[in-house]
């Protein structure tokens, strides 16, 4: 697939902006989950700034594509994308996790326009996405439902119930990403509870599976395009990612799953993520 260089550059710039927001807002909040937000940033950017059929002026537009952030703790990346896309002012981002803010620690669909599903308790987003896709089929609508799962999250049994169902119902408009950064709170997932051969598992459940570098913008767009051509089954894009990506001291560090950077660390991260620096 030929993707114009300027498109890729624009998306890379946007992803960097989103990473800067993540660092800033989690720093301001004093708590939150930067690691898994940064690992998902390129995919979320590709979705909101290249792929999804959405209209921030009409968050309830019935024909819109949906995105379900099943790994709800990565809320900062979703909030950053929604704000950058114009669902609410970017100035709101610094109210993350504060009393009275619409930006809850985990996404609340009733508080934030553009959030399609309240998530936070892991393992539940794919089921909801299936429901949205089934409703789309019933209504003869062609919207797609994108889902982001964490690699630790797929230890939850409900994910596999939903995986079975999506294949059974041939929900080809469900396109899921696995943010395969290899780390969960207690350590490397391979040590805590190994998921084994992830791609094989999804394939065995009847999914079309692709494996990509989840930070390669061209690869992300190509994979989504390929998934869109599949007609008889749901798609899983196993995205190999780096937890904390873009922030040198966070990369591949399990401790940055749920810790906020201190002011001097925020400064350092923003320097690393300054335009033209990466």
């Amino acid at each position: 697939m030929e993707i114009p260089t300027e498109t890729l550059e624009r998306l890379k710039d946007k992803a960097r902006e989103i990473r800067r927001h993540i660092i800033t807002m989690v720093g301001a909040a004093g708590s939150g989950h930067p690691g898994g937000s940064l690992s998902a940033a390129d995919i979320v950017t590709a979705l909101y700034f290249a792929e999804m059929r959405i209209d921030p002026e009409r968050p309830d537009w019935p024909e819109r594509d949906r995105f379900v952030l099943s790994k709800g703790h990565a809320a900062p990346v979703l909030y950053a994308a929604l704000a950058e896309r114009g669902y609410f002012p970017t100035a709101d981002l610094n109210s993350l996790r504060q009393l009275g803010s619409h930006l809850q620690g985990h996404p609340d669909m009733r508080k934030v326009p553009g959030v399609e599903m309240s998530t936070g308790s892991l393992g539940q987003g794919l089921s909801a996405a299936n429901g949205m896709a089934l409703a789309g089929k019933l209504d003869g609508r062609d919207y797609r439902v994108f889902v982001m799962l964490g690699d630790g999250e797929i230890q939850e049994g409900q994910v596999w119930e939903a995986a079975m169902a999506a294949a059974h119902y041939k929900l080809h408009r469900v396109i899921a990403f696995l943010d395969y950064n290899g780390l969960q709170i207690d350590g490397p997932i391979a040590e805590i509870m190994s998921p084994g051969s992830v791609a094989d598992k999804w394939r065995a459940f009847g999914w079309e599976v692709q494996e990509i570098d989840g930070h390669d913008m061209a690869a992300i767009l190509t994979a989504i395009s390929r998934a869109g051509a599949v007609r008889d089954k749901p798609s899983m894009i196993v995205a190999h990612t780096v937890k904390g990506k873009g922030c040198s001291f966070m990369e591949n560090q399990v401790g940055w799953h749920g810790a906020a950077p201190k002011p001097e660390q925020v400064e350092q991260a923003l320097r690393e993520l300054a335009p033209g620096s990466c």
């Binding site: 309240s118 308790s121 429901g131 949205m132």
Partner: protein
């Protein structure tokens, strides 16, 4: 009161009626369609019926997604699986986002019978009642069930409907009965004591009241088909009028209707209260009638409770 109809039967029929009225109604089941009676809907509306297999967590989550996209899903299973097994899914994917999901659970209580304690759910009202945004309906007969199902579809938000396996007498006149969610129904006027009941225990309460009348005790019987939001005014007025209250439900005495009434009266109008229900224990295999007797869910037990509160009232 000769004809007995299980509330699950009435549910199955009401779903079909609702399916014809509202094209947005969809139904989910988890491999129990023949038992929950959603099978009737599945035959008439196969496109709008989803048997998700033995996967209740996914059923609730899928229902949440369907609701988020504008559908009115009814999700059914046995009460034990439809609440306890999926408590977190209901809490986080349905109640917290206030999604328009109706959970219609059959085989509630000990009258499930021979299947035993693993299948006899006596904690479901408590589990559902404590969730913010959740409405809890416990119909007493077939007429009330039909009305509750139709009313639930009209409400915007999560609703739990508790249904039973065994046949129960029809108490209401289908031509005149008017179901108002949140409004208790006075089944019998009386001044000495109030029996506040829900589900199959409304029938037992009426039988007890009849027998007590012969002893000269005048019993007010309230049918609380909506356990949440509780009809606080009706409950308080019953206490004010009679000065003594007995609750009756096919549920643990902890956290259900009895709990709700006791909490309400303790705050608003304390009077002697006695809760008739399952006494913080699991059930066992047996015939429904045998179980009702062994676990104290009978008119006789209600009468004993009435005499006790009357004594305390003096």
């Amino acid at each position: 009161m000769s004809k007995k109809i299980a509330t699950r039967e009435a549910y199955g029929a009401a779903l079909v009626e609702l399916g014809r009225l509202n094209p947005n109604v969809v139904v989910l089941d988890a491999d129990l369609a023949k038992s929950t009676k959603t099978i009737d809907f599945s035959k008439e509306f196969p496109q709008r019926f989803f048997d998700v297999g033995i996967a209740e967590q996914n059923m609730i989550g899928t229902a949440a997604g369907l609701a988020a996209a504008g559908k009115v899903p009814f999700a059914s299973s046995f009460a034990v699986f439809a609440t306890g097994r999926v408590y977190d899914q209901i809490r986080n994917s349905v109640a917290y986002p206030r999604l328009n999901v109706k959970i219609a659970a059959t085989h509630a209580g000990i009258t499930v019978g021979e299947d035993g304690a693993s299948h006899q759910m006596v904690e479901d009202i408590a589990l559902m009642r404590v969730l913010p945004n959740m409405t809890v309906l416990v119909p007493a007969d077939a007429v009330e069930t039909r009305a509750a199902v139709l009313a639930a579809a009209e409400m915007d938000g999560p609703v739990y409907i508790r249904l039973g396996r065994a046949g129960v007498p029809v108490l209401h006149d289908e031509n005149t009965f008017r179901f108002v969610p949140g409004q208790a129904v006075t089944m019998r006027e009386g001044g000495d004591v109030a029996v506040i009941a829900c589900g199959i225990m409304v029938t037992a309460a009426l039988e007890a009241a009849e027998q007590l009348a012969a002893e000269g005790v005048s019993v007010l019987v309230l049918d609380v088909h909506t356990v949440k939001p509780l009809d606080v005014r009706a409950v308080v007025e019953a206490a004010q009028l009679t000065g003594a209250v007995v609750t009756a439900e096919e549920h643990s005495i902890i956290g259900g209707l009895g709990g709700a009434v006791a909490e309400t009266l303790a705050e608003h109008y304390p009077v002697p209260v006695r809760r008739v229900g399952v006494a913080d224990t699991f059930g066992e295999s047996g015939k429904p009638d045998e179980l009702l007797k062994k676990y104290g869910l009978t008119p006789a037990e209600i009468k004993l409770a009435v005499h006790e509160v009357l004594k305390r009232k003096q």
